[in-house]
Assembly symmetry: C2
Homo-oligomer: 165 residues x 2
């Protein structure tokens, strides 16, 4: 059976070692808090204005402000900065916290499309950091697609509300 | 609606700030890799020999060696050491990776009982580190109980194999 990590590498086309290159440099120290806030603001401005309703609606249960904060606090923490996310919300628990959302291959690609645009629109992110971040994001997006598929496995075997299975 | 973090604090009786006291000291630098290996070995030796079959059986899908390695690599990474776990397996994804297991209140208490015994049986862990680690473990155990309950919520609303709900 393929592990989450193996699925992430295969589906994203990004080797695990390339995804983990974000740990070679402290990107938080290099880019600073404001750059992360700007990136997430640019990202969610695109997402909340997306013409594709199927994608926009995935985020409808959250305010734009909360979405921005959750995202940049996690990025800051994961990329060498203070544990802003965990101090406020606990373990990142990426798969668990994405559980309510349909994290499909198509949704991952659309997320990554907006993130690439947001990276390009954010001042002060050098090309090397951009490449490292996109590799990390791409690998992680498909890690979450792999995590999402656990839901379907769980459903068939553990549904206790139904006599059919 | 209570967050995962709020449920963890309430059910564990450990404030979030006390759980995060593990970040005040670099416990990996203080205790060293071998102590973490010894702790996880002591822990899983107890678990795999547990007289309570309902608890022992939760771990039956894994070898003892794998269980030990997964645990100490995560502890080392979370407590200030190198990212051994993520380099091998990706994001910790604590809730997602515990998905196959019934993480009940009762199971959390039994896990913590064995962990307290394992901490007491492991040489070279000073009392302050022990307290910090137990607070972190207790809070995290109930964070995972809260995460486990998401499964039941998901089932009722998303089961697509059944016409009844």
């Amino acid at each position: 059976m393929q592990t989450l990590q193996e699925k992430a590498a295969e589906w994203s086309g990004v080797d695990t070692s390339d995804a983990l290159a974000i740990d070679e440099t402290n990107l938080y120290e290099k880019l600073g808090l404001q750059t992360f806030i700007n990136l997430s603001t640019n990202f969610y401005t695109r997402v909340f204005d997306d013409e594709e309703e199927w994608f926009r609606s995935i985020f409808a249960s959250s305010t734009k402000e909360d979405a921005i904060r959750n995202q940049y606090e996690f990025f800051v923490q994961r990329m060498g900065g203070p544990s802003l996310f965990s101090q406020r919300k606990g373990h990142p628990a990426l798969i668990g916290r994405h559980r309510p959302f349909p994290v499909t291959h198509k949704a991952a690609e659309r997320w990554l499309h907006h993130m690439q645009q947001a990276l390009d629109a954010t001042a002060d992110i050098d090309d090397d950091s951009k490449t490292k971040m996109m590799n990390f994001f791409r690998h992680t997006a498909f890690f979450l697609v792999a995590g999402d598929e656990l839901k379907n496995q769980g459903q068939a075997s553990t549904c206790k509300n139904c006599k059919h299975h």
